[in-house]
């Protein structure tokens, strides 16, 4: 290589370094801008909340609108089912039949007193929250309940799910 060629190669190398630094800095700055839009702290209501003194629960269905949650009471058993449709997040309606009704659902005959129907796209859930018609990809989640030892109130933990036969004895 001649002197001239070496110099031109050196110049090309330095130019590339300049480009890298320039575009890299610009990219980094914009990545920082974008990152700021991902919140680090959420001022949202907690997932684990105190609901009600279980003595005041009605027999059958209790709806807690601010938590979009159904709490059911049958004798001394209570359990909680989410009211959020698993398709696209609408609030499902509680549809009571007023009596026990035998229905054939997904090839099985089951006895039901109520169902959950979604107004947005027509998903239908059984009494236990299992999806049997409409577009929802999965059933309504069940959440664990507990009794707050300090106040004796019912507490729900909506951050984790439990099986649909889960019951709390009160």
């Amino acid at each position: 290589m001649t002197d001239k060629e070496i110099k031109s190669k050196r110049r090309e190398f330095l130019k590339n370094i300049g480009r890298l630094v320039g575009y890299g800095t610009l990219g980094g700055v914009f990545a920082g801008f974008a990152r700021s839009l991902w919140p680090n702290i959420l001022y949202e209501p907690p997932k684990r909340v105190r609901l009600i003194d279980p003595k005041n629960l009605a027999e059958g269905m209790n709806y807690f609108p601010e938590h979009r949650l159904f709490v059911f009471k049958k004798g001394n058993e209570v359990w909680a089912i989410s009211a959020i449709c698993q398709h696209l997040g609408c609030t499902v309606n509680f549809v009571p039949f007023g009596q026990k009704v035998k229905k054939k659902i997904l090839g099985k005959i089951i006895e039901e007193e109520w169902e959950f129907h979604c107004p947005c796209h027509g998903s239908k859930y059984t009494q236990d929250g299992d999806i049997y018609a409409g577009p929802a990809p999965r059933g309504l989640p069940h959440y664990p309940l507990e009794i707050d030892p300090a106040t004796g109130f019912l507490v729900v933990d909506m951050s984790r799910e439990v099986k649909k036969d889960w019951r709390l004895k009160v």
């Binding site: 609108p65 979009r68 979604c118 796209h121 409409g134």
Partner: protein, 411 residues
Amino acid sequence: MKEKLYQVWRALIWTFDPADRGEAGKAITRNFWLHWFPPRMTKRSLSWGYSLWLGTISAVLFFILTITGIILMFLYVPSVERAYQSIKDLEYAVSFGWFLRNMHRWAAHMMVASVFLHMVRVFYTGAYKNGISHMAKRQINWVVGMILLGVTLLLSFSGYLLPWDQLAIWAVTVGTQIARSVPILGDDIYYVLAGGTRLDQNALIRFYTLHVIFLPALLLVLFSYHMWRIRKDEGLASVEQEKIARKSGKPVQPEMVFSTPWAVRRIILVSLGTFVWVLFLTVFLESPLEEPASLEWTPNPAKAPWYFLWLQELVAITTIRIGGFTLNGGFIGGVLIPAILGGAATIWAFIDKSPPEATGVWFHRSRLVQNLVFTFFALLIVGMIIFAMYFRGPYWGVYWPWAWPELPEII
């Protein structure tokens, strides 16, 4: 004396009635509002029947939306506590508040329709083709136009949330949950769109900012480029027809006319017509405002705005279950199918290999098959909108519009 008076008269009106090519050119270049036009245009590209002036109509609507939108910004508070109240005030307390709101709303609905119809027109006339021009790259403008259609839809959608009523919150709940149903990335997209895990103040301020500055600015930049490209592409695609005729030796009349007054007059006419039509809707049709937004219960049925009803129909019927594996219809009908349709339409401009003669002319025979396929999908979308609008009732069931069932009171 008479001569003198005539000169004064000419000095006043020459830009609107140029005597020769020189004056016609100056009338354009010396006018700030007109300087982006060529001094002369072809009669065909100015005709009513070729372009239907849908692009101009869309631009006028955007102008109306900008003016009314800026005034609305003085009157609207983007906070979950006060947003609904500020819309109520617009309806009942602010002088002519209802007028502003109606005008903004109807211009927005019209713009979605006119931009869509503009796209349909460009397809049917093969106007994304280059004909025999060596300079034109009209496919680029087709791609830009498709993006503009998308931005228009996003603008409508982001504006939809702002009244913070039941209509708003459920349309946007469903819309953002569709984004959430995307595999793997869904939760992150939702998180940054809503600014959290639920629709609240963070979501409102994000949609507001998108609606009042980010998306309009993007639209304005793309629109300017859209216009600039028409100049670079040597005019509307219909000019190719004259070029082809001239090349094949057919006698072509000098069909060029001065932009002033020919184009200017029609632009003014179209602007006035659009304005009057929007005024008519504004005065005679009310804008709905439902109860304040509440996630506690959902209206039954909860329907999306008409231009998204086909998507609502799709997300309700496209959930796939194969054995234990389930794919949410939100993803298939809400993301995958529209993306495939939009993507296919966008790249079609590069795939269409019909002859140059099919450029800038309605329903050219050589494009019969693709026109039919395009019509099929366009009608499918329109059909789904009509079906979802009139035949979907409570719980998204299928009913005759006059035979909706009585619903028991829901607790």
